[in-house]
Symmetry: C2
Subunit: 221 residues, 2 copies
C-alpha cells in the first residue's frame, strides 16, 4: 500500500498561486518587461530560476544573469508585501493530521526559503516528524525531482510507495521523474485536463478533498 505523501506547498497546501503571479508580474514590470500574465501563471510551479530561463527562451527576452537575479529579488519583495493575503487551504491541516494518525509518512517540499514558509508550516504541521524540504535543504526543485528524492530518503520509502501532491504540471512532471504517482489539485488554477495530461493519477478540487477519499490513493482508511 501507499506509505507516504509528499506535498508541494504554494498553491497546494496554501492558497498563494495568485499572489505569486501578481508578484512576478510586478517584478517583470520593474524591468520594463510585459509578459502575458497567463504565461507567468502556467510557469509559477517551477522554481524561480527554471521559470526565468523558460520565459527567457520562450519570449526571447535576452535576460542577463544579473537581470534574472534582480527579478528574483523583486519577486521576493513583492510577494512579501502580498503574503498577508495568503491563507492555508481549507482542510489541509486536517489531512496532514489524519495521515499522521494512521502512520502515513508526510513531507512538504517547496522551492521557497524556510523563512517564507515558516508562518504556514506552523499552521500546517501536525508534529515534529513532518519532513520539510526547503530551498536551503535542497535547492534543485521542480521540475527537478531532487527535492522529492530527498524527502523519500528521509521518510525511508522508495518512490513507488509514495505519491506527490501538487497543483501544477511541474509537480506532475517531477513526480514522473521521481518514479512516483502524481496527484493533482485544482487550487492553483490549472485545469483538471492540464494536470491529467501531465500525468496526474487523480485530480481533486483541493487537498481537503483528498481526506474523504484516501483509499483512492491506496491508503488504508
Amino acid at each position: 500500500m501507499m506509505k507516504a505523501l509528499v506535498f508541494d506547498l504554494d498553491g497546494t497546501l496554501i492558497d498563494s498561486s495568485y499572489q505569486h503571479i501578481g508578484a512576478w508580474t510586478c517584478a517583470f514590470r520593474t524591468a520594463n518587461i510585459d509578459l502575458p500574465v497567463v504565461e507567468i501563471h502556467r510557469r509559477v510551479g517551477m522554481n524561480g530560476s527554471h521559470m526565468l530561463n523558460a520565459l527567457n527562451r520562450t519570449f526571447e527576452l535576452g535576460l542577463s544573469k544579473d537581470t534574472m537575479t534582480s527579478l528574483e529579488l523583486a519577486h521576493r519583495d513583492y510577494y512579501a508585501r502580498l503574503s498577508d493575503e495568503v491563507r492555508v487551504i481549507e482542510g489541509a491541516a486536517q489531512l496532514l493530521q489524519a495521515l499522521t494518525e494512521i502512520d502515513i509518512g508526510i513531507a512538504i517540499a517547496t522551492s521557497a526559503r524556510r523563512q517564507e514558509a515558516e508562518r504556514f508550516l506552523k499552521q500546517l504541521m501536525p508534529g515534529p516528524d513532518t519532513v520539510v524540504i526547503t530551498s536551503e535543504t535542497e535547492a534543485r526543485s521542480k521540475p527537478d525531482s531532487h527535492q522529492f528524492e530527498r524527502a523519500f530518503a528521509k521518510l525511508r520509502v522508495v518512490p513507488h510507495e509514495a505519491a506527490i501532491v501538487g497543483d501544477s504540471s511541474w509537480d506532475m512532471l517531477a513526480s514522473r521523474l521521481a518514479g512516483s504517482l502524481g496527484v493533482g489539485v485544482l487550487s492553483g488554477g490549472y485545469s483538471e485536463t492540464e494536470l491529467s495530461s501531465a500525468g496526474a493519477f487523480r485530480v481533486y478540487r483541493d487537498v481537503g478533498g483528498i481526506l474523504l477519499r484516501l483509499e483512492e490513493l491506496g491508503i488504508p482508511g
Copy 2:
C-alpha cells in the same frame, strides 16, 4: 460567410483577468470572507452581480444585498488601483484594424463601465464604426446574451453570421444562448479543454493568434 466578430474586453482584448482576480480577493477580505482564489478566477468572466450570486450560493455565504453592493464597490476601488498594470493583448489592435479593412463588423461588449474601459478602447479602436457595448448601454451581461444581441442589432447581422470571442466559459455560454459561434482565447487563464467543453468552436492562444487564421472562422482572408 462570417460577417462580424464580437469581442469580450477583460481577459480577451486586455490582459486584466488576474488584476480582477486580485481585486475581488481583496474585496472579499474587507468583508472577512476567505474564498479559494481559483473559485474567484473561474467566475470573473461573469458580470459582478451574477458572480456574487454564484459565489453566495456555492459557498453559502449568506450575503445580504447591501453586502453585495459593498463588495462590488470595493472591487471597483481595488481594481482601479491595479489597472495601471493592465496592458492591451499583443496583436489585439492589429486584429481589429485588419478586420475593419476587410469590412468585417466588429463590436466590443463588456460588463465594465465606459469610464473603466475608455483608456483601453482608445488603444484598441480602429475607427468610429466600432460598436461598443458597456454596462451603461446594456447592463444584462454575461452569461446573459443581451449585450451580444444588442451588438448584433447595431452591426445589422443575425446571430449565425457572427462569432463571439472571449476568454471564459461564460463567454462561450453566452455565445450559445445568443445562437452564435464561440471562439476561445487562453489569455484569461482558462484551459483549452475548459473552453472547448463549454462550446468553443476554436481556441487560440490569444486574439493576436486569430489574425493569421481568419479563414478558420469563415472569414475570407
